[in-house]
C-alpha cells in the first residue's frame, strides 16, 4: 500500500513529487484538456519546473505517474470491496457504482487513459500493467463469487470488463457533446446517480420484461 500513501520529506512536508502530482491533478480537474504546460504545473505547485524532468522524465511520465496514483487509490478501494463479507451480487452492484464514482471524482481520467492508450507500445503495456490487468482480476473474483452463489449465469470476465468499463467511461468521455444533445448539458451529481441506477438495473436485470412474479 506504500504507493497509495502520501510521501513526506525529511521535514515532514509533503514531498515535491507529490506536490507536482497534486498540482497536475488540480489543473486537469479544472480544464477540458490535457494541454497544460510545465510552467503552469510549476506555478501551481510553487516548485521549479525542472523538477518535473527530474522526477518524471518529462510530461508524459508525469501523466503516467498521476494515473498510477489515481488507479492505485481506486484499485485499493476495489480490493477492500472484494474482501468484504456481503452478498456477491451487492459487491457487483457496489463495484459498478464505484467505477462511475471514480470517473466522476477524476474527470480527467478517461482523457489520460485515452492519450496513454493511443501512445506507444510501452505506454499501452504500462497502462495494462498498472490499471487494466488488476481491475480485470478483481472483477473476475466478484463474478466468480456471484457464479458460485448461483446468482448469475455464466459471463466471460474479459468481455464483462469491456462492457462495464466502456458503458461507465463513455458518459464522461462524451461530456463535450452533452450541451448539444437532449438531457442535462453537463454531468451533475444527479445525472451521475441516475446513470449508476440505470446501469446497475441494465446489467443485472437486462431490458426484457421478466414473465415471473416478483419473489
Amino acid at each position: 500500500m506504500a504507493r497509495v500513501g502520501v510521501r513526506l520529506d525529511a521535514n515532514g512536508r509533503v514531498a515535491a513529487r507529490e506536490r507536482l502530482l497534486d498540482a497536475t491533478s488540480a489543473l486537469l480537474g479544472e480544464r477540458d484538456t490535457l494541454d497544460i504546460s510545465l510552467n503552469e504545473i510549476a506555478a501551481r505547485s510553487g516548485l521549479n519546473h525542472g523538477l518535473v524532468n527530474y522526477y518524471f522524465k518529462g510530461k508524459e511520465g508525469l501523466l503516467l505517474a498521476l494515473l498510477e496514483r489515481d488507479a492505485a487509490r481506486a484499485l485499493s478501494e476495489l480490493e477492500h470491496l472484494v474482501g468484504q463479507n456481503m452478498p456477491p451480487l451487492t459487491k457487483l452492484e457496489l463495484h459498478i457504482r464505484g467505477v462511475i464514482n471514480v470517473y466522476f471524482r477524476y474527470p480527467y481520467i478517461n482523457r489520460l487513459i485515452n492519450v496513454l492508450q493511443s501512445g506507444n507500445a510501452d505506454m499501452a503495456r504500462e497502462l495494462a500493467r498498472i490499471f487494466i490487468a488488476p481491475l480485470q482480476k478483481f472483477q473476475a473474483r466478484i463474478i466468480d463469487e456471484c457464479l458460485r452463489a448461483g446468482d448469475i449465469g455464466f459471463v466471460d470476465p474479459t468481455l464483462f470488463y469491456y462492457t462495464v468499463i466502456g458503458a461507465c467511461e463513455f458518459l464522461f468521455h462524451s461530456r463535450n457533446t452533452l450541451p448539444y444533445l437532449s438531457g442535462p448539458p453537463e454531468i451533475t451529481s444527479k445525472l451521475k446517480e441516475d446513470y449508476a441506477d440505470h446501469l446497475v438495473r441494465f446489467l443485472l436485470d437486462g431490458l426484457k420484461i421478466r414473465s415471473e412474479q416478483p419473489a
Copy 2:
C-alpha cells in the same frame, strides 16, 4: 441519400473530393494513429495536396468530412432497419450487432470521434449534429417500439445511448492494450462476434439468473 452516394466528375470519374476521402480512409485503416500527413494523402490519392485545403480547409476539416461520410452510411443502414417490418426486439438486437460492425469495419472511427470530441466547441457541436443526435433519435424509435409491444421495461433513451455505444466502442478503443491482457491480442472476426453475442445477451437478459422456467 445524396451524401451517401459517390460523386462523379463531368467525365464520370470519381471526383477529387471523394478520392481524397478514400485515400484518407485507407491510410487510417492501415495505421494505429490519426497522424497521417497531407503529403501521404496526396501520394495515395494521386492528387495535389493543395486540394485538401481547397475542399476541406485543412486536415481537421478532412477528418470531419470523412466521419460525416462514414456516419451517413451507418445512419442510412440504421434508418433502413428502423423501417423494417420485424419484431421490435429483433430490431434492437440487430442494431446492437450493427454498431459493433461499424466499429469493426472502420477501425479508425472511435479515434476520429475522440479527437473531434475533445477538440473545440464547434467540432463537438458538429459531431453531435451529424452523428450523435440522429443516432439517438433512431435508437429512441426502436426503444419506443419495444416498449409499446410490451417486450421491455422502461429505459431512458439517452442513458441507453451511453450504455450501448460506450460498451461497443470500448473494445475497439482498447485494442492497443489487448496484447498485454488475457484473451486474444487483437480484434479478430471471432472476438467481434463473441462480443456481439455477449452484449446482446447482457443488455436484453441481464446477468441475473431468472427464476422462471423457459417459455
